[in-house]
Amino acid sequence: MKETTIQGRLWVLTEPDGALYDDIDTDMIFHNRYLHITDVAQMGQYALDNLKGWEDFAKKAQPGDIVMAGRNFGSGSSRQQAVDCFQALGISAIVAESFGAIYKRNAINSGLPLVTFPNLTAIAAQFENGATLAINLETGEAVLNDETRFQADPLSQVQMDIYQAGNLFAYGKTVL
């Protein structure tokens, strides 16, 4: 069994004016000019390189880090590379107020935990780059810098099962 609590250093994706970024689309996450790349290990270096102010994200990110954004993260195309690129960097979870529908499926099926934080925009000022966030995926309880507690949505059962198995393929083998 994998740990059900994830802890990592936080990257809060904000616009140049400091507001939490909404509607980060799949072209901002993984631009269409890289779609010919098929080796997942090569995808990490391009993560967020079309998001204004975050072009150098791949150089700064470390395995285990957690990414935070506003509403509708991963809207747009169905490209799975927009999930794969974060997994290539070892990102341990993405936290947002809401996610694009297909992005959410892609992440679940790839075993990347997406944590939905209702009303995140309203409390976004409390989260800073470099802070430590711990999230219990089963209960949704989140703790910032070992101090402040928040309640996020827990992962659904199917989300948890696929995460525990590793990904959809591994999960499929457990139920077949």
């Binding site: 909404d22 509607d23 098929t38």
Partner: protein
């Protein structure tokens, strides 16, 4: 309590009398749509360790994204797809030149009322225009569907959008859906099943209904759907050769939201760079200089779209310094546009005719933009950098607005030409 369209169609597929919103079901989809990304999906499929697809008859593969191949990498991908098709014995394969997957799939009889269609393309909701439940999925799960024939789906919440009134001249389905997306925002219908209804939708052609369901994806919808009627049955006649069961939402179905729009006084709408929900009436952006116009894509590349452009451009010529690209959505559309003289009208007016396919919509080839350039396009996305340079600008509009703007060289109200 009644059930929504999504509840009824998914319950039937799961063999249940009724299902609850939020319930997770494992079902066998009727069709699995994939395109050029079949190359990567085939790679994932092999990793699962299964030799044969569970049911090759559900697979529909259309090469459309970068056709003909723009370089060696794309050519190699296409070759991989053709080899996979031959190996697995997939009958429904449509090679370079047939058109865009979301046009070819229904033309060839792979969409029908009550069908459940999943596709590894975000604009798969298009097929809801035929009364199907049609949703986009990712490539890992497309490979899993190939291996198992099954997929897990969460029964979505539903919106019902009622579109009423009468459409003014030179205002079309594209203007209606841009207006709605501007109102609801890019995440306004996240994960939802969106049912389009009302007198305007009933009066719309199948092609116009496809504009609505196609762009439901741009407000985050899981699927969009229009109830089948006599027009649907007539369109599908000769294409779908088996019986199907039409599914209608119950009158007392539970909706998250029911929203009514009266479009009787709607002006042509334009989405400004760089988000689809950045929508204003065309009157607010009049005079914006353009370098390129694009008429085509899975949103607006059908016969009525080309005809609307030809009606404005016939006997005239586009402005000096403007490139106008026209891409019919399919071979069938192209042949009919040739037969009706529409292609002649457009090319004589200065348009460049490109082959049926996705073309420059996703920035791979056939009309990418340089830094500082502006395109007005009938496509469904204007994300920063989508059509080439990150420093370029894409406005989204109807075929009539794009044609009128190509004529003058600046964004122009199609009611004024």
């Amino acid at each position: 309590m009644g059930q929504t369209f999504a509840q009824k169609v998914l319950a039937r597929k799961a063999g249940l009398d009724s299902v609850m919103v939020g319930q997770i079901l494992t079902i066998r989809p009727d069709k699995l749509l994939t395109h050029d990304n079949t190359s990567a999906i085939a790679g994932n499929f092999r990793k699962i360790g299964v030799q044969r697809m569970a049911d090759p008859s559900i697979s529909v593969i259309v090469l459309d994204h970068v056709v003909p191949a723009a370089n060696e990498t794309y050519a190699a991908n296409h070759k991989t797809v053709r080899e996979f098709v031959a190996e697995q014995g997939i009958a429904a394969f449509y090679d370079v030149g047939e058109g865009i997957c979301h046009q070819v799939l229904p033309e060839k009889g792979h969409a029908w009322p009550g069908a459940v269609i999943v596709g590894s393309d975000s604009h798969t909701p298009t097929h809801g225009a035929f009364g199907a439940f049609s949703a986009g999925i990712g490539r890992t799960e497309a490979a899993a569907v190939m291996a198992t024939g099954e997929i897990w789906l969460r029964v979505p919440e539903s919106f019902r959008l009622l579109i009423n009134g009468t459409l003014p001249a030179r205002v079309s389905a594209k203007d209606v859906i841009l207006h709605i997306i501007g109102d609801l925002r890019a995440d306004g219908a996240d994960y939802r099943s969106v049912e389009f209804a009302g007198e305007i939708v009933q009066a719309m052609s199948i092609a116009s209904r496809m504009v609505l369901t196609n762009m439901a994806a741009e407000m985050g919808a899981k699927n969009g759907v229009v109830e089948p009627d006599e027009k649907t049955r007539a369109w599908l006649k000769g294409r779908v050769d088996h019986d199907y069961e039409e599914i209608f939402a119950d009158p007392d179905a539970p909706y998250d939201r029911v929203i009514a729009y009266d479009v009787s006084t709607l002006a042509p709408q334009v989405a400004k760079p760089h988000t689809v929900d950045n929508v204003v009436p065309v009157t607010e952006v009049l005079g914006t200089k353009i370098d390129q116009g694009l008429i085509g894509t899975c949103t607006n590349g059908r016969l009525e779209d080309l005809a609307a452009a030809a009606e404005i451009l016939r006997g005239k010529h586009i402005a000096p310094g403007v490139r106008l690209l026209v891409l019919p959505a399919s071979r069938e559309v192209l042949l009919e546009a040739v037969a009706q003289g529409i292609v002649t009208d457009l090319v004589a007016a200065g348009a460049t005719l490109l082959n049926p396919g996705c073309g420059p919509c996703l920035g791979a080839h056939e009309g990418c933009m340089a830094p500082g350039e502006t395109t007005i396009s009938t496509a469904n996305r204007n994300f920063k950098g989508r059509m080439g340079s990150k420093e370029a600008f894409t406005y989204l509009a109807s075929p009539a607005t794009v044609a009128a703007s190509a004529l003058t060289g600046v964004i122009t109200d199609p009611r004024e030409v």
